[in-house]
Symmetry: C2
Protein backbone atom coordinates (compact mmCIF):
# COMPACT_ATOMS: atom_id res chain seq x y z
CA UNK A 1 0.00 0.00 0.00
CA UNK A 2 1.16 3.54 -0.96
CA UNK A 3 4.19 1.88 -2.52
CA UNK A 4 5.44 0.55 0.83
CA UNK A 5 6.30 -2.98 1.88
CA UNK A 6 4.52 -4.75 4.74
CA UNK A 7 7.55 -4.11 6.97
CA UNK A 8 7.26 -0.35 6.45
CA UNK A 9 3.53 -0.01 7.22
CA UNK A 10 3.26 0.39 10.98
CA UNK A 11 0.04 -0.48 12.82
CA UNK A 12 -1.83 2.71 13.67
CA UNK A 13 -0.59 4.56 10.59
CA UNK A 14 -3.32 6.82 9.17
CA UNK A 15 -3.46 7.17 5.39
CA UNK A 16 -5.72 10.01 4.10
CA UNK A 17 -7.30 8.84 0.85
CA UNK A 18 -8.77 12.17 -0.28
CA UNK A 19 -12.36 13.04 -1.12
CA UNK A 20 -15.03 12.17 -3.65
CA UNK A 21 -17.82 14.58 -4.56
CA UNK A 22 -21.22 13.01 -5.29
CA UNK A 23 -23.20 14.99 -7.85
CA UNK A 24 -26.89 14.35 -8.43
CA UNK A 25 -26.13 13.19 -11.98
CA UNK A 26 -23.51 10.68 -10.87
CA UNK A 27 -25.80 9.35 -8.11
CA UNK A 28 -28.65 8.81 -10.57
CA UNK A 29 -26.36 7.37 -13.29
CA UNK A 30 -24.82 4.83 -10.93
CA UNK A 31 -28.24 3.88 -9.55
CA UNK A 32 -29.78 3.53 -12.99
CA UNK A 33 -27.04 1.09 -13.98
CA UNK A 34 -26.56 -0.90 -10.77
CA UNK A 35 -29.14 -0.06 -8.08
CA UNK A 36 -32.39 1.27 -9.58
CA UNK A 37 -34.36 1.58 -6.36
CA UNK A 38 -36.69 4.59 -6.63
CA UNK A 39 -35.09 6.50 -3.72
CA UNK A 40 -31.73 6.46 -5.56
CA UNK A 41 -33.33 7.79 -8.79
CA UNK A 42 -35.41 10.86 -8.00
CA UNK A 43 -36.10 13.42 -5.30
CA UNK A 44 -39.80 12.66 -4.89
CA UNK A 45 -39.23 8.95 -4.34
CA UNK A 46 -36.29 9.89 -2.11
CA UNK A 47 -38.58 11.92 0.16
CA UNK A 48 -40.97 8.97 0.44
CA UNK A 49 -38.13 6.43 0.81
CA UNK A 50 -36.33 5.02 3.83
CA UNK A 51 -33.97 8.02 4.22
CA UNK A 52 -36.41 10.84 3.41
CA UNK A 53 -34.03 12.11 0.74
CA UNK A 54 -32.56 11.16 -2.66
CA UNK A 55 -29.43 9.22 -1.73
CA UNK A 56 -26.55 7.41 -3.40
CA UNK A 57 -26.48 3.63 -3.69
CA UNK A 58 -24.35 2.22 -0.88
CA UNK A 59 -22.24 0.54 -3.57
CA UNK A 60 -21.61 3.96 -5.10
CA UNK A 61 -20.25 5.16 -1.74
CA UNK A 62 -18.00 2.10 -1.70
CA UNK A 63 -16.89 2.71 -5.30
CA UNK A 64 -16.00 6.30 -4.31
CA UNK A 65 -13.71 4.83 -1.64
CA UNK A 66 -12.06 2.60 -4.25
CA UNK A 67 -11.49 5.54 -6.57
CA UNK A 68 -9.77 7.53 -3.81
CA UNK A 69 -7.78 4.48 -2.66
CA UNK A 70 -6.42 3.79 -6.16
CA UNK A 71 -5.60 7.48 -6.77
CA UNK A 72 -3.77 7.71 -3.43
CA UNK A 73 -1.75 4.60 -4.18
CA UNK A 74 -0.90 5.67 -7.72
CA UNK A 75 0.22 9.13 -6.54
CA UNK A 76 2.40 7.63 -3.78
CA UNK A 77 3.97 5.15 -6.23
CA UNK A 78 4.70 7.94 -8.73
CA UNK A 79 6.36 9.99 -6.01
CA UNK A 80 8.62 7.07 -5.02
CA UNK A 81 9.52 6.48 -8.67
CA UNK A 82 10.33 10.16 -9.12
CA UNK A 83 12.70 9.81 -6.16
CA UNK A 84 14.43 6.90 -7.90
CA UNK A 85 12.85 4.23 -5.67
CA UNK A 86 10.90 1.13 -6.70
CA UNK A 87 7.46 1.14 -5.07
CA UNK A 88 6.04 -2.08 -3.64
CA UNK A 89 3.20 -3.18 -5.93
CA UNK A 90 -0.36 -2.93 -4.63
CA UNK A 91 -1.67 -6.47 -4.28
CA UNK A 92 -5.23 -7.72 -4.72
CA UNK A 93 -7.77 -7.85 -1.89
CA UNK A 94 -9.22 -11.23 -0.93
CA UNK A 95 -12.29 -9.42 0.51
CA UNK A 96 -13.34 -7.45 3.55
CA UNK A 97 -15.56 -7.43 6.63
CA UNK A 98 -17.99 -5.35 8.64
CA UNK A 99 -19.10 -2.90 6.00
CA UNK A 100 -21.51 -0.35 7.49
CA UNK A 101 -23.54 2.38 5.82
CA UNK A 102 -24.32 4.70 8.73
CA UNK A 103 -26.07 7.55 6.94
CA UNK A 104 -27.25 8.41 3.42
CA UNK A 105 -24.93 10.16 0.95
CA UNK A 106 -26.87 13.00 -0.70
CA UNK A 107 -26.39 15.00 -3.92
CA UNK A 108 -23.69 17.59 -3.32
CA UNK A 109 -22.03 15.65 -0.49
CA UNK A 110 -18.26 15.38 -0.43
CA UNK A 111 -17.03 12.26 1.34
CA UNK A 112 -13.52 12.20 2.75
CA UNK A 113 -12.07 8.72 3.10
CA UNK A 114 -9.37 7.71 5.57
CA UNK A 115 -7.64 4.37 6.10
CA UNK A 116 -5.93 3.25 9.30
CA UNK A 117 -3.57 0.27 9.38
CA UNK A 118 -4.91 -2.11 12.04
CA UNK A 119 -2.80 -5.26 11.63
CA UNK A 120 -0.54 -7.35 9.45
CA UNK A 121 0.73 -10.87 9.13
CA UNK A 122 2.97 -12.86 6.79
CA UNK A 123 1.29 -15.43 4.55
CA UNK A 124 2.74 -18.90 5.04
CA UNK A 125 1.04 -19.96 1.81
CA UNK A 126 2.63 -17.16 -0.27
CA UNK A 127 6.28 -16.57 0.65
CA UNK A 128 7.24 -12.94 0.15
CA UNK A 129 3.69 -11.73 0.74
CA UNK A 130 1.58 -10.81 3.73
CA UNK A 131 -1.86 -9.46 4.51
CA UNK A 132 -2.31 -5.88 5.60
CA UNK A 133 -5.46 -5.25 7.66
CA UNK A 134 -7.09 -1.83 7.79
CA UNK A 135 -10.14 0.12 8.90
CA UNK A 136 -11.53 2.69 6.48
CA UNK A 137 -14.10 5.40 7.04
CA UNK A 138 -15.99 7.92 4.89
CA UNK A 139 -16.98 11.21 6.55
CA UNK A 140 -19.18 13.89 4.96
CA UNK A 141 -18.66 17.66 4.93
CA UNK A 142 -20.65 17.94 8.21
CA UNK A 143 -18.29 15.57 10.01
CA UNK A 144 -20.73 12.66 10.03
CA UNK A 145 -19.31 9.21 9.40
CA UNK A 146 -21.42 7.71 6.60
CA UNK A 147 -19.45 4.58 5.73
CA UNK A 148 -16.87 2.21 7.23
CA UNK A 149 -15.37 -1.21 6.63
CA UNK A 150 -12.45 -3.42 7.60
CA UNK A 151 -10.30 -4.21 4.58
CA UNK A 152 -7.40 -6.48 3.83
CA UNK A 153 -4.94 -6.46 0.96
CA UNK A 154 -2.03 -8.63 -0.11
CA UNK A 155 1.21 -6.72 0.41
CA UNK A 156 4.77 -7.75 -0.43
CA UNK A 157 7.34 -8.21 2.34
CA UNK A 158 10.58 -6.35 1.63
CA UNK A 159 12.91 -8.85 3.26
CA UNK A 160 12.11 -11.49 0.67
CA UNK A 161 11.16 -9.45 -2.39
CA UNK A 162 13.66 -6.68 -2.81
CA UNK B 1 -37.41 -9.11 0.45
CA UNK B 2 -39.18 -10.30 -2.76
CA UNK B 3 -42.26 -8.49 -1.42
CA UNK B 4 -42.54 -10.79 1.61
CA UNK B 5 -42.70 -9.95 5.29
CA UNK B 6 -40.11 -11.22 7.76
CA UNK B 7 -42.63 -13.81 8.99
CA UNK B 8 -42.94 -15.30 5.51
CA UNK B 9 -39.22 -15.66 4.76
CA UNK B 10 -38.17 -19.00 6.20
CA UNK B 11 -34.54 -19.71 7.10
CA UNK B 12 -32.94 -21.85 4.40
CA UNK B 13 -35.06 -20.36 1.62
CA UNK B 14 -33.03 -20.00 -1.59
CA UNK B 15 -33.77 -16.97 -3.76
CA UNK B 16 -32.25 -17.07 -7.27
CA UNK B 17 -31.28 -13.52 -8.23
CA UNK B 18 -30.55 -14.11 -11.93
CA UNK B 19 -27.39 -13.41 -13.87
CA UNK B 20 -25.25 -10.48 -14.95
CA UNK B 21 -23.06 -10.60 -18.07
CA UNK B 22 -19.75 -8.76 -17.86
CA UNK B 23 -18.65 -7.37 -21.21
CA UNK B 24 -15.12 -6.08 -21.79
CA UNK B 25 -16.50 -2.57 -22.36
CA UNK B 26 -18.48 -2.53 -19.11
CA UNK B 27 -15.47 -3.89 -17.16
CA UNK B 28 -13.19 -1.17 -18.55
CA UNK B 29 -15.83 1.59 -18.14
CA UNK B 30 -16.47 0.72 -14.50
CA UNK B 31 -12.74 0.49 -13.79
CA UNK B 32 -11.97 3.77 -15.52
CA UNK B 33 -14.54 5.53 -13.33
CA UNK B 34 -14.04 3.79 -9.98
CA UNK B 35 -11.05 1.42 -9.95
CA UNK B 36 -8.41 2.40 -12.53
CA UNK B 37 -5.83 -0.23 -11.66
CA UNK B 38 -4.02 -1.28 -14.86
CA UNK B 39 -5.14 -4.94 -14.69
CA UNK B 40 -8.81 -3.79 -14.82
CA UNK B 41 -8.15 -1.56 -17.86
CA UNK B 42 -6.35 -3.55 -20.54
CA UNK B 43 -5.40 -7.08 -21.55
CA UNK B 44 -1.64 -6.56 -21.53
CA UNK B 45 -1.59 -5.15 -17.99
CA UNK B 46 -4.06 -7.90 -17.04
CA UNK B 47 -1.60 -10.58 -18.16
CA UNK B 48 1.15 -8.99 -16.07
CA UNK B 49 -1.20 -8.33 -13.12
CA UNK B 50 -2.09 -10.39 -10.04
CA UNK B 51 -4.66 -12.56 -11.85
CA UNK B 52 -2.83 -13.03 -15.18
CA UNK B 53 -5.89 -11.75 -17.03
CA UNK B 54 -7.96 -8.57 -17.54
CA UNK B 55 -10.54 -8.76 -14.76
CA UNK B 56 -13.46 -6.77 -13.40
CA UNK B 57 -13.11 -4.56 -10.33
CA UNK B 58 -14.37 -6.47 -7.31
CA UNK B 59 -16.78 -3.59 -6.72
CA UNK B 60 -18.16 -4.15 -10.21
CA UNK B 61 -18.88 -7.79 -9.30
CA UNK B 62 -20.67 -6.52 -6.17
CA UNK B 63 -22.61 -3.92 -8.20
CA UNK B 64 -23.72 -6.74 -10.54
CA UNK B 65 -25.15 -8.53 -7.50
CA UNK B 66 -27.04 -5.36 -6.52
CA UNK B 67 -28.48 -5.00 -10.01
CA UNK B 68 -29.77 -8.59 -9.96
CA UNK B 69 -31.06 -8.23 -6.38
CA UNK B 70 -33.06 -5.08 -7.19
CA UNK B 71 -34.46 -6.60 -10.42
CA UNK B 72 -35.53 -9.77 -8.58
CA UNK B 73 -37.25 -7.76 -5.86
CA UNK B 74 -39.00 -5.44 -8.29
CA UNK B 75 -40.25 -8.38 -10.39
CA UNK B 76 -41.56 -10.20 -7.30
CA UNK B 77 -43.30 -7.04 -6.05
CA UNK B 78 -44.91 -6.45 -9.46
CA UNK B 79 -46.18 -10.05 -9.50
CA UNK B 80 -47.75 -9.64 -6.05
CA UNK B 81 -49.36 -6.35 -7.12
CA UNK B 82 -50.72 -8.00 -10.29
CA UNK B 83 -52.31 -10.61 -8.00
CA UNK B 84 -53.99 -7.84 -5.99
CA UNK B 85 -51.63 -8.13 -3.02
CA UNK B 86 -49.58 -5.41 -1.33
CA UNK B 87 -45.88 -6.34 -1.31
CA UNK B 88 -43.80 -5.72 1.78
CA UNK B 89 -41.41 -2.86 0.95
CA UNK B 90 -37.71 -3.64 0.58
CA UNK B 91 -35.92 -1.92 3.44
CA UNK B 92 -32.44 -0.46 3.48
CA UNK B 93 -29.35 -2.45 4.40
CA UNK B 94 -27.28 -1.32 7.39
CA UNK B 95 -24.25 -3.11 5.91
CA UNK B 96 -22.78 -6.57 5.48
CA UNK B 97 -19.96 -8.89 6.46
CA UNK B 98 -17.42 -11.35 5.13
CA UNK B 99 -17.25 -10.27 1.54
CA UNK B 100 -14.92 -12.55 -0.42
CA UNK B 101 -13.67 -12.32 -4.00
CA UNK B 102 -12.57 -15.88 -4.70
CA UNK B 103 -11.63 -15.62 -8.37
CA UNK B 104 -11.40 -12.95 -11.08
CA UNK B 105 -14.41 -12.07 -13.24
CA UNK B 106 -13.25 -11.91 -16.87
CA UNK B 107 -14.68 -10.29 -20.02
CA UNK B 108 -17.50 -12.48 -21.32
CA UNK B 109 -18.22 -14.08 -17.94
CA UNK B 110 -21.83 -14.47 -16.82
CA UNK B 111 -22.21 -14.48 -13.06
CA UNK B 112 -25.29 -16.09 -11.54
CA UNK B 113 -26.17 -14.75 -8.10
CA UNK B 114 -28.10 -16.66 -5.44
CA UNK B 115 -29.23 -15.57 -1.99
CA UNK B 116 -30.02 -17.93 0.91
CA UNK B 117 -31.92 -16.74 3.99
CA UNK B 118 -29.73 -17.57 7.00
CA UNK B 119 -31.44 -15.85 9.92
CA UNK B 120 -33.86 -13.20 11.13
CA UNK B 121 -34.71 -11.26 14.23
CA UNK B 122 -37.12 -8.53 15.27
CA UNK B 123 -35.68 -5.08 15.97
CA UNK B 124 -36.53 -3.89 19.47
CA UNK B 125 -35.49 -0.38 18.39
CA UNK B 126 -37.83 -0.28 15.37
CA UNK B 127 -41.23 -1.83 16.15
CA UNK B 128 -42.73 -3.42 13.07
CA UNK B 129 -39.33 -4.10 11.54
CA UNK B 130 -36.74 -6.83 11.74
CA UNK B 131 -33.41 -7.76 10.21
CA UNK B 132 -33.20 -10.51 7.61
CA UNK B 133 -29.76 -12.16 7.37
CA UNK B 134 -28.60 -13.85 4.19
CA UNK B 135 -25.64 -15.42 2.41
CA UNK B 136 -25.17 -14.53 -1.25
CA UNK B 137 -22.91 -16.10 -3.84
CA UNK B 138 -21.89 -15.36 -7.43
CA UNK B 139 -20.98 -18.34 -9.62
CA UNK B 140 -19.53 -18.11 -13.14
CA UNK B 141 -20.54 -20.12 -16.24
CA UNK B 142 -17.94 -22.78 -15.34
CA UNK B 143 -19.51 -23.37 -11.92
CA UNK B 144 -16.76 -21.56 -10.00
CA UNK B 145 -17.86 -19.41 -7.07
CA UNK B 146 -16.23 -16.01 -7.65
CA UNK B 147 -17.92 -13.90 -4.98
CA UNK B 148 -19.78 -14.26 -1.67
CA UNK B 149 -20.94 -12.17 1.24
CA UNK B 150 -23.25 -12.18 4.25
CA UNK B 151 -25.91 -9.50 3.93
CA UNK B 152 -28.58 -8.04 6.13
CA UNK B 153 -31.60 -5.96 5.25
CA UNK B 154 -34.38 -4.27 7.23
CA UNK B 155 -37.62 -6.12 6.58
CA UNK B 156 -41.14 -5.33 7.85
CA UNK B 157 -42.95 -7.75 10.17
CA UNK B 158 -46.47 -8.52 8.98
CA UNK B 159 -48.03 -8.91 12.39
CA UNK B 160 -47.49 -5.27 13.23
CA UNK B 161 -47.48 -3.59 9.83
CA UNK B 162 -50.29 -5.02 7.76
Amino acid sequence: MIGLYLDELEIGRIIPLGSHHFTRDAIVDFARTYDPQPFHLDEKAGRRGPFGVLSASGWHTAAGWMKCYVATNQAAEAKLRAAGKTPAPLGPSPGFENLVWHKPVKPGDTITYTLTVTGKRALASRPGWGLLFSHSTGVNQDGDEVFAFDGKVMTPVRTSSG
